[in-house]
């Protein structure tokens, strides 16, 4: 009797355990993974003047089952140099911005990790605070600073340094500034997390053994913070490739980025199949960085 009671309890727990696992798993399967399958599906369909604006993939008529797999959208992406240029422009801009973020963010994180303990929380909050305000408004701030009649041009012309305003708005430069500004906190955070965990005795050991500061930095600090460098860089690079708001507000005709092209295909041209194909190719491009980030992150999660 005792035993049967126990097995019943265990079985109930087992059932409960499954239900608990199912709750987040089913939600994410339904609202995160399944949508990607649908993007793939629509990217293989034909555009149509209908609501929603695409044709069916499977049709049953006259006792024949017709399956349409339209690769035309993908071929179209390859044939039109606009799309190739947009992908290249996105990757290039995101890469430059990531490097700039790393060059500014690493010393910042390093100084924070070395700061006295009672300062560290305050510094961390100071770095993160901007990211809790509004992304849109922080990008907007640069419109007033960089434009032809903006703050920098006004200042420089007022001081007589330049005669005519420098064209900074609607350039590649403005887009890089915008991305660096918006994403810098996400670079600093994982770097700081890694650098604070760094064991000081290792650095002392290196210096006791006669290693010079720069040498210690390159041979000890840098390799030990590699996880933070990867995480921070991926947190900047991957979203930056698909960025829409920043190129839309700060970019110009010469700054072609894929997020903006996708947005326009979807909202202006109402070409859902092309927009889906663009998203699939972007996902394919980002697959390696995403997997890289995931492997790093899950190691962090499980340790």
């Amino acid at each position: 009797m005792m035993l049967s009671h126990l097995t019943a309890t265990l079985r109930r727990w087992q059932l409960g355990r499954r239900a608990v696992i199912a709750f987040p798993l089913v939600w994410l399967l339904l609202f995160f993974l399944l949508p990607f399958a649908l993007v793939l599906k629509i990217s293989l369909s034909q555009g149509a003047v209908a609501i929603p604006p695409y044709g069916p993939l499977v049709e049953y008529a006259d006792q024949t089952l017709n399956i349409f797999l339209n690769l035309g959208n993908y071929l179209f992406l390859l044939s039109d140099s606009l799309y190739v240029a947009a992908y290249w422009g996105s990757v290039k801009t995101a890469f430059i911005s990531t490097v700039v973020c790393l060059l500014i963010g690493y010393p910042m994180a390093y100084a924070m990790a070395r700061a006295p303990a009672r300062w560290q929380l305050l510094l961390l909050l100071l770095v993160m605070l901007p990211s809790w305000t509004s992304f849109l408004i922080r990008v907007y701030a640069w419109m007033g600073i960089l434009s032809n009649s903006g703050l920098i041009n006004n200042l420089l012309m007022g001081m007589g340094v330049i005669e005519t305003p420098l064209r900074m708005m609607n350039t590649q430069f403005a887009v890089v500034i915008g991305i660096v500004y918006a994403y810098l906190p996400f670079m600093v955070l994982p770097l700081y997390a890694h650098l604070t965990r760094l064991d000081n005795s290792l650095l002392e050991a290196a210096s006791d053994l006669g290693s010079r500061k720069l040498n210690t930095f390159i041979k000890v600090t840098l390799p030990l913070s590699m996880g933070g460098i990867i995480a921070g860089s991926m947190l900047v690079f991957i979203p930056a490739v698909g960025e829409f708001v920043i190129p839309e507000l700060l970019g110009g005709p010469d700054t072609l980025m894929i997020g903006k092209v996708l947005w326009e295909e979807f909202f202006l041209n109402r070409d859902w199949p092309i927009a889906s194909a663009l998203a699939m190719v972007m996902l394919l491009l980002l697959l390696v960085p995403i997997v890289w980030f995931h492997r790093y992150q899950s190691r962090e999660l499980e340790e």
Partner: protein, 279 residues
């Protein structure tokens, strides 16, 4: 003591420059929100007229209300989902679907918003075709979209806390006969509640801030604050938006200051009790 002041470290200089870089543009926004001229770049005297204009703007006010409602419910649901996901990943050992779950928790952190937005819209359109729901896209579809990506952030925050938490307390409760569900609600949850609060706040600000995903999954009815701000900002610089920005910055700064104050106080208390225990 040497009279020669030590040259500050390179990284300290960079930290100061970096913080200036982060804060100067926001300071400019705040200063020009008090400008009486419509031209944001020319200073024409102090005025608070843009604040009163902001509070008369019905479109912005109703968008603020819509955004706050969506953010509140999305953050609350995301905390439920994210906490369960974090608990399952850190405490359940191995189970089928664990890799899938952990991938789906980390991927939204980096997924470009245009992809997430497009894919969710396509899902809602197909669901409407198959089941008739959602007939109209609007606040409810934005809520689902925000819950999904916010729960990933909550899961990361909560999992970090669960991992550093000593599981022996939970095991002790179970050994003493507390069933798992009871242990979770009466032992684990109270200990990780600060992480839940942090996760909720993070999810709330993320939902309030999202433009791209909401634009994809929204219908004609629901306009969130970022959507209204975006359509206004696209036309160029507007002092009313500066006033709005100032209020947002003020609110976030105040909340952050309070958080810092309480965290510092509890840390000081902890230190003191440690000292008392030692003596």
């Amino acid at each position: 003591m040497s009279l020669v002041r030590r040259r500050p470290h390179f990284s300290t200089v960079m930290l100061i420059i970096g913080l200036l870089f982060l804060y100067l543009p926001m300071a400019v926004l705040v200063v020009y929100s008090f400008n009486s001229s419509r031209l944001v770049t020319v200073w024409a005297g102090f005025s608070t007229q843009w604040y009163s204009a902001l509070f008369r703007d019905q479109q912005i006010l109703s968008a603020v209300w819509t955004s706050l409602k969506i953010a509140f419910f999305a953050a609350s649901m995301a905390v439920c989902l994210g906490t369960v996901a974090a608990f399952v990943m850190t405490r359940f050992g191995h189970f089928r679907g664990k890799t899938a779950l952990s991938s789906m928790v980390t991927a939204p952190l980096v997924m470009p918003e245009v992809i997430t937005g497009l894919s969710l819209l396509l899902l809602f359109v197909q669901m409407a075709q198959l089941t008739g729901w959602p007939a109209d896209r609007g606040a409810s579809t934005i809520w689902i979209a925000h819950t999904t990506f916010c729960s990933a952030y909550v899961a990361v925050v909560v999992a970090a806390r669960l991992r550093e938490l000593d599981s022996s307390i939970e095991e002790a409760a179970m050994d003493l006969g507390s069933p798992p569900l009871k242990t979770f609600f009466f032992v684990t949850l109270p200990i990780i509640s600060p992480a839940l609060a942090a996760g909720w706040l993070l999810a709330f600000t993320l939902s309030l801030d999202d433009l791209v995903i909401a634009s994809f999954v929204s219908g004609p009815g629901a306009n969130t604050l970022p959507m209204v701000v975006f359509s206004s900002v696209r036309m160029g610089v507007s002092p009313k938006i500066n006033a709005l920005a100032t209020l947002i910055i003020l609110t976030v700064s105040l909340a952050t200051f309070l958080a810092w104050y309480f965290m510092r106080r509890s840390e000081a208390k902890r230190q003191q009790s440690l000292k008392q225990d030692a003596s």
